[in-house]
Symmetry: C2
Subunit: 164 residues, 2 copies
Amino acid sequence: MSRMRRALFISLICLLAGTAAAAGGKGSPLDADEQAIRAADATLLAAAAAKNVERIASFYAEDCAVLWPDSPPRMGRQGARDAWSEAFKEPSISVTWHTEQVVVARSGDLAYSRGYYDETYDENGRAMHAHGKFLLVWKKQSNGAWRVAVDVDNPDGPAQPTRP
Amino acid sequence: MSRMRRALFISLICLLAGTAAAAGGKGSPLDADEQAIRAADATLLAAAAAKNVERIASFYAEDCAVLWPDSPPRMGRQGARDAWSEAFKEPSISVTWHTEQVVVARSGDLAYSRGYYDETYDENGRAMHAHGKFLLVWKKQSNGAWRVAVDVDNPDGPAQPTRP
């Protein structure tokens, strides 16, 4: 290859790379990130259903912030461990959620998921139900795994008895 | 300029552009985004202090989600308008907040800010105070302005009288 052709070839590759970077990976890389977050979210949900605190905490970033109602912020993975352990102190509690939306930054390093949660538990022998919304901020770690950086939620209103 | 030199020149420019894209603007562009968000946040705070609902709503993205406690999600800029109007129905209410952290995606299109809020209001002639934490997701709009895409908060505990 002549030097000029080589230079043109390099130009073309760089131009394509630049265009791809400018497009922000709007094609499959972004979809791959959303899929990876949805997969992590599904595994986290399963760990919450199994009340496996260590497994749950492993989905939180080391420097995470857990911002749950009626408590000061709990910081770091230990904060996540504490928050979930405290929730599971009530043995009747059951938590589930539905993720409605996942939005990923073009750079694929930051994202959020937003959705709804349902909690049921017994209070003085009465089955109670709380419904609310949540937001999780996700950060891609240096190993490529998505982890929760911020976890925040609140209820739509006071918990209600499941039966009148 | 010879064709070869021109090709080499284009290569160099593309390479520089690619490198800058790969670095994700970790230098001044990111700082500029953080500064722009902090400036928007400060103006939003001033609009909240002035109880100027239209001005407040102008800082929310058209497709925003307002996730406040004790209410279902309020969607869109009209949802933001409704949420703030409802809060200001209580004439004694005063809201302020302190933004502790701003994190911007490398691509400069998505960010979040996290901090603490304080609310005071009168309840049956008694001055009350509520303290909590918030998270705002910011999205850069097509005109380059940062707007709130998600607004979520919750209290650290029940509101307390400011005097025992």
